[in-house]
Symmetry: C2
Subunit: 197 residues, 2 copies
């Protein structure tokens, strides 16, 4: 009775219910209208007043972070898949692709993401997820570097930025073909050319 003792009382049922409804509705609205969607509309469609939304999620970023949390399961699932393959270069490539898709889930998502990655505001709920992703990227980079497949000068943070960029461009509505050209350009930038001389 250590953890339960603190609260002392069972949490109310409507809290959980409203939170779930808000998250579900918010995700749909983010998907359809981007991260700038009207929070008032989200609240209304979730069947709660605006104040309830703000009580649960004080800022847009907080709501965004909570929605992303539920979506991140997909990402860790991918990570499991990726770690199956033996080739570290291939693993890095797929990881970058997975991050990019994660970042472009909602149009406009890269902006608050970058803001969180940059600043050392511990109160920004997106900061921690960002730091985790950067670290993870660095792991993949190091593994590929040990195998001599990635330039030594490259860091995980660099490729995090690159993935963010591509996701940003994608979010502006660019076609898939120029996007793929850009991905190729970036890949040429970090790959170690085979020293087969």
């Amino acid at each position: 009775m250590s953890a339960g003792e603190l609260r002392g009382r069972k949490p109310r049922a409507d809290v959980q219910r409203n939170r779930a409804a808000l998250l579900e509705t918010a995700q749909r609205h983010f998907l359809e209208h981007g991260v700038g969607t009207s929070l008032e509309a989200v609240a209304k469609e979730a069947g709660v007043g605006p104040a309830t939304l703000y009580r649960h999620f004080p800022t847009r970023e907080a709501l965004l972070a909570a929605v992303l949390q539920t979506r991140s399961e997909e990402l860790v699932a991918r990570q499991a898949d990726i770690e199956q393959l033996g080739d570290p270069a291939e693993a890095l490539e797929q990881w970058l692709r997975a991050m990019e898709e994660y970042f472009s889930a909602f149009s406009g998502l890269p902006d608050p993401l970058m803001a969180a990655a940059r600043a050392q505001e511990p109160d920004n709920p997106l900061t921690i997820p960002c730091d985790i992703l950067i670290s993870a990227t660095d792991q993949y980079v190091r593994a590929a570097q040990l195998a001599g497949r990635v330039r030594a000068s490259v860091r995980g943070h660099d490729l995090f930025l690159a993935a963010c960029s591509v996701a940003w461009i994608k979010g502006t509505g660019t076609e898939e073909e120029p996007l793929d050209r850009l991905r190729t350009l970036i890949a040429s930038g970090y790959r170690q050319q085979d020293t087969q001389a």
Copy 2:
């Protein structure tokens, strides 16, 4: 009396005056608060009513395009400098840098720029400037390719996107050091390695 005949009447003095005041104020506000700055505030500080602003510049993009127009002189001046140097690879590099600085003049500028570059909306006043810049980039790319300094697979449009990306990241407030690392990464991506085998 061919061109003057069309208008038939001398343009009013206040029109010119207001337009100039608006452009000047708008540029300052864009510089200080980014492209999302309040147009109402711009109008008020320029000493005109909101309607006058909207009459001169029907949309935010129109105002932005007009302000950029005045700033583009700097860019063409740079172009002249760049064409002095004989090395086409160096020229491309400097041109990309010039574009990037142009794009990061105002925070948030890359977004409307990308929107204009993507869509074939002829009414978007930013479309034409974008197309010009892409073509110019392509020129530099081709020249450098002829000299064997840039991979054959690279196109001007790719590097336009890359420059936009870097400018976007810059606009989110990222430090200069990670930015420079990203630039290096991209440069490694388009440069042709010397085939000195």
